[in-house]
């Protein structure tokens, strides 16, 4: 069963890449767009650190590390689940959702597999390069366990991103168009790129306990630079990913049953 889904997914992606080759220029522009967006963020950090030696105890390279780390779960989510934007903005509003219910495969899988957003490779490339750069500069050493933990954190972070997106996108089953809410949400995730100690209490509360973006970047990164303990950082991230996914998937299923009861 899992094998079938994996095989299907590979096929979906392969096909999509073929289409991509036709729109090469578009792809490069999109890629450039993301690269530049990341670049601007880095320039900002650079300029800040021309004024001060450290930010709330975080050095330039450590800030760079958390910034870089934040790109990876976000990029991964962006790469794989871009169709959720269309769900929130178009698919349900235009009554195009039926076809996902008419196939003998999980409708969420079908929806997500249909769209692959290679532009996000820009985020991933920048993230990886910056992580390597900053860890070398900080002089961090990674044991094998550390690397595994790192990968786990990136995956959990991506799950959190996707779950939050899935939750708000599913609201479209009730309100027809939830795309702008998704966009606000995306803006909220900007908070996770920097140490949360710079924020006021309310903001910290929101991004930790309500919409847990802090666990997509800050906490995992803080663990690796020894600014947060393992239980909060690693355990918290894993817990957050499980919780957010459960809430999101439940909302998605509920949304489908509402869709099936009301028709359109």
């Amino acid at each position: 069963m899992l094998k079938k889904y994996v095989k299907l997914y590979v096929k979906f992606v392969a096909q999509y890449l073929k289409v991509l080759m036709e729109y090469r220029l578009d792809f490069f522009i999109g890629l450039l767009g993301f690269l530049v967006t990341q670049g601007v963020g880095i320039i900002f950090i650079f300029i800040i650190f021309e004024q001060i030696p450290s930010l709330n105890g975080w050095s330039f390279n450590e800030i760079l590390f958390i910034y870089a780390f934040s790109q990876l779960p976000r990029g991964l989510d962006h790469l794989l689940t871009d169709n959720l934007w269309l769900l929130s903005g178009r698919i349900i509003a235009r009554g195009e959702f039926d076809k996902y219910l008419l196939k003998p495969i999980n409708p969420l899988f079908h929806l997500l597999a249909e769209r692959f957003q290679p532009d996000a490779i820009g985020e991933l490339i920048v993230g990886v390069m910056l992580i390597v750069y900053s860890t070398i500069n900080i002089g961090m050493s990674f044991s094998f366990l550390d690397i595994l933990l790192l990968l786990l954190m990136i995956i959990c972070g991506a799950v959190i991103y996707t779950s939050i997106k899935l939750f708000f996108a599913s609201l479209a089953f009730w309100i027809k168009n939830s795309q702008s809410i998704l966009w606000v949400n995306y803006s909220l995730s900007d908070f996770s790129k920097y140490p949360i100690s710079i924020y006021g209490k309310t903001v910290r509360l929101i991004i930790t306990l309500v919409i847990p973006f802090a666990f997509t970047a800050y906490f995992p990164a803080a663990y690796f630079v020894h600014k947060e303990g393992i239980y909060v950082a690693i355990g918290g991230t894993v817990l957050a990913s499980i919780l957010t996914f459960s809430v999101a998937y439940y909302t998605w299923c509920k949304g489908i049953s509402v869709y099936e009861s009301a028709g359109n």
């Binding site: 979906f12 096909q15 008419l102 196939k103 003998p104 099936e260």
Partner: protein, 315 residues
């Protein structure tokens, strides 16, 4: 939403009807389902395909309750929406079929055999390598039909499949549906506004109006019961002599039972065959003028359906 009753049998598809009417459809039947917009057609189709849950009552399709076992039901049905495609828009058509093969677990041999057959019947080869977004409407409909059949579903739901198509493509599509039905005994449920679809394809017709079933029977039955009107066209030499002929007056009938008129060199008589026979009319006219050619036309379904709607006749 009305109440729904169901019958269960391996060979029958239980159809949801509205207002406590149930039907059974035998395997391999081609059923036409007509009704005005808002009459309840889409609702019933959606229940049968599992994307809508009835508020009360139940429905089983070939032994499966569609909205409870959606994915299981999905394996045995094929659906074509006239207005929306289920194909992958940016990809060449071959890829859609390849992906569907995996989604429905179609074996390699079955896949090859069916692709060959669908190709012959739908002519897919001419555009199988093009991206779906470049296809014309007619090509897309043929492709959607093929895609709905690649897993050899037991039941095929067609929701307005010929909408917007030109006559030639409609013909091709209808022919394909007939052949598929013949070869695989696929049960076909077809909703349409195009009554010639019904006339050409369907063994049976169900008319639904305002959520109630208004007629359910074979197409022939409906023609016999309601299609009592015939029209004779006769080519006449010296048409001037025919001007005085008025069948209604001469046989003492109401205008609606025998209408006579002239157009060019032809004389037309539209008559109720229950009130007067063809032979009587022809004999009468031939007694007065010289008839050189003649043809008789039955009432078409469209008129019949209009009549049914107008009288709101129910079984």
């Amino acid at each position: 939403m009305g109440t729904v009753k169901g019958l269960f049998s391996k060979e029958y598809i239980v159809k949801t009807a509205v207002n406590k009417i149930s039907l059974d459809i035998k395997k391999g039947e081609i059923v036409g389902y007509i009704g005005a917009n808002g009459a309840g057609k889409s609702t019933t189709i959606k229940i049968m395909t599992g994307i809508l849950i009835p508020t009360s009552g139940n429905c089983t399709v070939n032994g499966i309750v569609p909205y409870e076992n959606r994915q299981k039901n999905a394996k045995q049905i094929g659906v074509v929406f006239g207005q929306r495609t289920q194909l992958w828009w940016d990809l060449p058509l071959t890829e859609t079929f390849s992906i569907l093969k995996d989604i429905y677990d179609v074996s390699e041999d079955d896949f090859k055999g069916r692709m060959k057959f669908l190709n012959e019947v739908l002519g897919l080869d001419e555009f199988i390598h093009s991206a779906v977004r470049t296809l014309s409407l007619g090509q897309r409909m043929r492709a959607d039909l093929g895609a709905a059949l690649i897993h050899n579903p037991k039941i095929l739901f067609l929701d307005e499949p010929t909408i917007g198509l030109d006559v030639l493509v409609k013909e091709k599509l209808r022919k394909a549906i007939k052949e598929i039905n013949k070869k695989f005994q696929t049960t076909v449920i077809l909703t349409t506004h195009d009554l010639s679809d019904i006339e050409e394809l369907c063994d049976r017709i169900i008319i639904i109006d305002k959520g109630s079933k208004v007629y359910d029977g074979s197409v022939n039955e409906i023609k016999n019961e309601y299609g009592f009107l015939r029209t004779i066209e006769m080519s006449i030499i010296d048409i001037k002599k025919a001007l005085e002929i008025d069948i209604a007056k001469e046989f003492n009938l109401l205008e609606e039972d025998a209408k006579t008129w002239i157009c060019g060199n032809s004389m037309f008589v539209k008559f109720n065959r229950n009130k007067i026979s063809v032979s009587d009319i022809v004999a009468h006219i031939m007694g007065k003028v010289q008839v050189v050619d003649m043809s008789i036309k039955e009432t078409d379904i469209e008129e019949i359906v209009k009549k049914i709607y107008a009288y709101e006749v129910s079984l």
